[in-house]
């Protein structure tokens, strides 16, 4: 009985000593540069939209509601409008509102593509809204967005 108490006591003491140290180490490993950059996000949005008025139709953004692995979040975008040789999607961007670098990626299509669909995997630093913007060859801009909950930061990985 005495031995059991001793083991229990020393285990509790051991974890108490070890845990704060481990926590302090992980905290120092995350640089301060993971903070969101709202100014850059607004600039990226404004640069892409220009003078057009974004339409909330014709663009399908597909991503999970909960990111179980924030260092690889599957995102799928499709322009659902009927496309032709004369009407095609020129450019499509993905923006992660709260990421340190909000412009996640840029897709470009040509008249030879014939479709406008792409998928990639994002790293997300925190729970946020993911935006997709598409520019068509006739100047229309399509917009879609979805909120996503992130379990832990993916950018430091």
């Amino acid at each position: 009985m005495q031995r059991r108490d001793f083991v229990r006591c020393s285990m509790a003491l051991g974890t108490a000593l070890a845990l704060p140290r481990a926590r302090a180490q992980t905290r120092t490993a995350v640089p301060a540069s993971l903070a969101p950059n709202p100014a850059e996000f607004r600039k990226a949005m404004a640069d892409f939209i220009g003078k057009a008025k974004p339409l909330e139709t014709g663009l399908k953004l597909d991503l999970p509601v909960l990111a179980d692995n924030p260092s690889a979040v599957p995102v799928h975008v499709t322009v659902t409008l009927p496309l032709s040789d004369t009407l095609y999607c020129k450019e499509l961007i993905l923006l992660a509102e709260q990421n340190p670098s909000p412009l996640a990626c840029r897709f470009q299509f040509t008249p030879y593509t014939g479709t406008a669909e792409a998928a990639a995997r994002l790293r997300l630093s925190q729970s946020q809204t993911v935006h997709a913007l598409a520019r068509l060859s006739d100047g229309r801009v399509l917009a879609a967005r979805q909120a996503i909950t992130v379990a832990a930061s993916g950018c430091g990985m």
Partner: protein, 109 residues
């Protein structure tokens, strides 16, 4: 850059005219964001894949410019409309100008 060749999957290499062909491709790349530090606390220099291009014969059909918000070992999926036969050439370039490429022959059936 990685030693392993790119992994590429194409829904059909013998599509009918007008069929939508889906391509999935992935390479091994660290996509070092420049935000990480090594154990000594020094930042690791940024090096991400800066462009991916897919051409069918001479025509550019798809281009992708990843940012640092793209996961490591970048995965890309895109579709195109099969209108002519040709070689589908996929080319990845990173910020150190290292390249990787993959080829698939597309023949209209």
């Amino acid at each position: 850059m990685a030693v392993k060749p790119p992994r590429v999957w194409v829904s059909s290499v013998k599509p009918a005219r007008g069929e939508v062909v889906r391509v999935r491709a992935q390479i091994e790349h660290l996509m070092e964001s420049g935000l990480r530090v090594d154990p000594a606390g020094n930042p690791r220099p940024r090096n991400i894949v800066r462009s991916f291009e897919a051409r069918l014969g001479p025509q550019l059909i798809f281009r992708w410019e990843p940012g640092i918000g793209i996961a490591q070992n970048p995965y890309i999926e895109f579709t195109f409309l099969a209108r002519e036969s040709g070689e589908l050439l996929m080319l990845w370039t990173d910020e150190a100008n290292a390249t990787q490429e993959a080829r698939k022959t597309i023949t209209l059936s």
